[in-house]
């Protein structure tokens, strides 16, 4: 059984590396680098920003997740009803199934390349997609 990390209020952390579940249940938090194969769970009304790296097994968010840097961020799967802002850097995931996704100018969000185009496990589902005028997007 993997340990769990629970954050209930504002935090400013240098890094989190976890193979378990990290839950942000309250506040606005900034984490320098996320690593590990665990699950990142963000509750509604909560904001989590990754400054330098966001590598994790999965994200399930009803809040706001900001990707603010990192040239090769990789998240296994991204689900939830929240807001995902890729403000800088590059993010790759097997699928994006989220409420709102916004990709800033110069940032990139990539559906992890599949050797089998048409693979339904990679099908994205979004309620809103915002691409800044010069933003590279899903490749």
């Amino acid at each position: 059984m993997n340990a769990a990390i629970v954050v209930n209020a504002n935090q400013n952390l240098a890094s989190i590396t976890s193979a378990g579940t990290t839950s942000f249940n309250g506040g606005t938090s900034t984490v320098g680098s996320f690593g590990g194969t665990g699950a990142l769970v963000v509750a509604s009304g909560v904001t989590v920003s990754a400054t330098n790296a966001l590598n994790h097994g999965s994200i399930n968010s009803a809040g706001i997740v900001n990707v603010n840097g990192g040239a090769s961020n990789v998240v296994g799967t991204i689900d939830g009803t929240g807001v995902l802002n890729v403000n800088a850097g590059s993010l790759s995931s097997t699928h994006y199934r989220h409420g709102t996704m916004a990709i800033a100018s110069g940032a990139t969000a990539t559906i992890a390349d599949s050797m089998n185009p048409g693979n339904t496990s990679a099908t994205g589902y979004l309620n809103s997609l915002s691409l800044m005028p010069t933003a590279p997007s899903t490749s």
């Binding site: 994006y96 199934r97 100018s105 559906i111 390349d113 599949s114 185009p117 048409g118 693979n119 339904t120 496990s121 990679a122 099908t123 994205g124 589902y125 979004l126 309620n127 809103s128 997609l129 691409l131 005028p133 010069t134 933003a135 590279p136 997007s137 899903t138 490749s139």
Partner: protein
């Protein structure tokens, strides 16, 4: 994107024009080298592959590539063969008939 996407916009106005513009910008005459919604697989074989898009109301189903959109208001996007007017992943008689039906008509939102 080398797969598919459902943009389920609910009760608001359709973002299909924005999606089309993002694909068109990335397409860049077949180079697929500009910002927007792009595809590395299409870039590697632009003569055969591209990114298609369609308003779900013209698709005839509330399910697409493993995702459902019960409300019906969605824009569907798919990496597929050029000429696939129905986003089914292949090109056949139905696509041929669509081309004939639209021959010499002004360009409309459809696929790139």
């Amino acid at each position: 994107m080398n797969n598919s996407m459902v943009l389920d916009y609910g009760v608001g106005s359709s973002p299909i024009a924005s999606v089309a513009a993002s694909i068109k910008q990335a397409f860049n005459g077949g180079a697929w080298d500009q910002p927007g919604i792009t595809s590395t697989s299409a870039r590697n074989n632009p003569a055969q592959y591209g990114i298609g898009y369609v308003e779900a109301s013209n698709f005839g189903s509330t399910a697409f590539e493993g995702q459902t959109f019960a409300g019906g208001n969605a824009v569907l996007v798919k990496y597929t063969l050029r000429g696939d007017t129905t986003l089914k992943g292949s090109v056949g008689l139905q696509d041929y008939n669509t081309v004939l039906a639209n021959f010499k008509r002004r360009a409309r939102l459809g696929r790139r």
